[in-house]
Symmetry: C2
Subunit: 401 residues, 2 copies
């Protein structure tokens, strides 16, 4: 139920958004089909489409196949009519990219982080954005940032990002002042979820989706009915720091036995190193300090016993956490992305088996677990696309029209 | 973003809903205040209020205090202008009630279940509703049912209620045909959550809330931004059957170590009986088969060691599950209701301590845990109120107006 009144002007903007959304969501579509899907009149759709063509957002691309009458003219989004910037503040490097409206990356800049934080890390963000905004991709309509830590997206504030030593940093207003563009700030797991949702094409735009990012840490991003769900405090999906093993290993958050200490990519490497002495027959045992994610993966592919233990443990604990997640949300589709994808289908199957063992049979059965399709690009694309998910209004260059 | 167009007729209905919502949410309110809160014009508000007064839903109750100008006329919902029926299909008894628009129960009928199920249980529902609909409370505008098990609320179907031996029972259409009234079917934990949300007055109508029902079983109901969240499959909040203790006791769902086997009221009694032999000094040990929830509560109040163990275990496991719940949802307010309330503040505090020990410190700190205010009435009231939460349209007796 709406909490403020609907006016005619708002109705017009909503209808225009709605038409654009339909064109956005289809590779090609006719006016008649837009009218059918939106329940708007053909006349209204024609008006809106004329306006979208005038703004350069939509183009006619020829005739579709006819089902009896006149063949319809097909419409398509002009992918390069607007550009967005997405930035992923990763653990090891910051990656920024210019992205078009179809999620195609036009230009990328990567900078190693090398342990810098605080003001230096902020300068690195400026450095990347200065370059990306100066490359001549026009019109550039917005910047989206995916950062680790807790974010207040409404206020555009990084509340707490431990690795970057940022607390209550008003990043959106700093960047808006510097670049004169709308800026959105998101938690990186949430941005990744949006990326997989919008560009991974895993389901319809009105659907719900959980995306688990298992990398240095573990986090979930939750989309409910096509919208990012952040909870009251912005931290929805912070499942990496739930204690799943009493008296387990010390976590970077200060507690013991968090999911991250067992199921993240870092945890798998750390545990393989720690347990190497117990597996003298393991191919990894010879030089435990040289163990990396890649050597664990090779050993896992060869069914090495040490790799089996640490990788299957990660699957077991992650699956048990997913059992809790699906019991709370009962969302049918879960995408897993991040470095842990390297362990492949056998690992994913073990995650699913553990989820099933820990949840109501019916709930587990109706849940589909799959890998993401975008890998590291998901965070960048999702950060750039967040504002589109909220509203297409930033694509309208002259909203007073 | 809306997916169908807004028309003028819809705008009018939405505005009327909006005005009624404001009056519903306040004990008394002036037209000027309604206009301020809804951002509608005074003229529109006056029109809508005139119409609501004409329908008997709203009345003028005299002058409020002035802040300078003319004292405003105050409006109030006419609590007895419409009636709803709520029915709770509990484990031991079915309770039905006629409820007015303020959640005041006007008439109650209770029937013991005595182990009946299937068609007999359905006949018992008819028996109660036949009586309640025949008592002359008019106009009666809807019936809401809270049932254990999995429900498809959109279709009005009880998908699976094990205790009642109902599978794919189209309860809503059966009752709609029999009583010629709109009927909604909800899972009982979800209905309880709506009851606490709408009539427990724990927070604003736009807020989010988690309600945990800990009784024979354990379930959660989740409200997000004032709407019931059910997930893709209708089972959102089914946390009672997540395995929290590997190789634990057999659960009625067929798995071992579910939350219900440790933290439900039934589990506390069962565990006290099973462990009585280990506590010869316990006041409960003399006659373990005579242990009831009430004797455990008395022993807990006296800090009896057996009671301490089983009650604190329930708090520990429930708290750990809540840690998962808040990490997924980050909803700040959790209400706990049901028989476990009998263990009082000390138990609630132990639940909170366990939640804090198992979750990110910040997330736990910002979460408020409290007991419900309605007890068993919450399910009945919530079942009756669900349709109001969705829309006030069923209160408009002549929607063509």
């Amino acid at each position: 139920m709406p909490h403020t009144k609907a006016t005619h002007q708002q109705t017009k903007l909503l209808n225009r958004d709605l038409v654009l959304k339909m064109i956005f969501e289809h590779d090609e579509i006719s006016r008649a089909e837009v009218a059918r899907l939106t329940k708007l009149t053909r006349a209204t759709v024609s008006d809106m489409v004329a306006s979208l063509i005038g703004e350069g957002l939509v183009e006619e691309i020829g005739f579709g196949s006819s089902i009896g009458g006149k063949a319809p003219i097909l419409l398509r989004l002009v992918a390069d009519s607007r550009y967005l910037i997405g930035l992923n503040l990763g653990q090891d490097k910051f990656i920024g990219a210019v992205v078009n409206l179809r999620g195609e990356i036009k230009e990328t800049i990567e900078m190693p982080v090398d342990g810098i934080d605080g003001e230096e890390a902020l300068q690195l963000v400026y450095h990347i954005l200065d370059q990306l905004t100066g490359k001549g991709w026009q019109p550039l309509v917005g910047i989206g940032i995916g950062t680790p830590g807790l974010v207040n997206t409404q206020e555009g504030v990084v509340v707490n990002a431990v690795n970057l030593d940022w607390r209550d940093l008003p990043l959106a207003s700093l960047l808006e002042a510097r670049y004169n563009l709308p800026v959105s700030i998101l938690n990186d797991s949430q941005a990744t979820a949006i990326g997989e949702f919008v560009y991974g094409r895993t389901l319809s735009s009105d659907g719900s989706l959980i995306v688990i990012t298992a990398r240095h840490g573990i986090g979930a991003g939750i989309l409910i009915s096509g919208r990012l769900f952040q909870g009251d405090g912005g931290g929805a999906g912070e499942i990496g720091h739930v204690v799943v093993q009493e008296n387990g290993s010390l976590c970077r958050c200060g507690k013991h036995g968090c999911l991250e200490t067992l199921a993240s990519a870092s945890a798998v490497v750390r545990r393989a190193r720690a347990l190497a002495g117990d597996y003298p027959g393991s191919s990894l045992a010879a030089s435990s300090s040289a163990i990396t994610l890649d050597t664990v993966r090779q050993a896992w592919d060869a069914q090495d016993p040490l790799a089996e233990q640490v990788v299957l443990d990660s699957a077991r604990y992650l699956g048990a956490s997913l059992a809790g997640l699906i019991s709370v949300l009962n969302i049918h589709r879960i995408v897993i992305t991040g470095d842990m994808e390297c362990f492949g289908k056998r690992w994913l199957q073990a995650v699913g088996e553990s989820m099933t063992a820990h949840a109501l049979a019916r709930m587990a059965q109706e849940t589909i677990l799959e890998f993401g399709t975008l890998n590291f690009k998901a965070c960048i694309l999702g950060a750039s696309a967040y504002m589109l998910l909220e509203s297409y209004s930033l694509l309208f260059l002259n909203p007073a029209e």
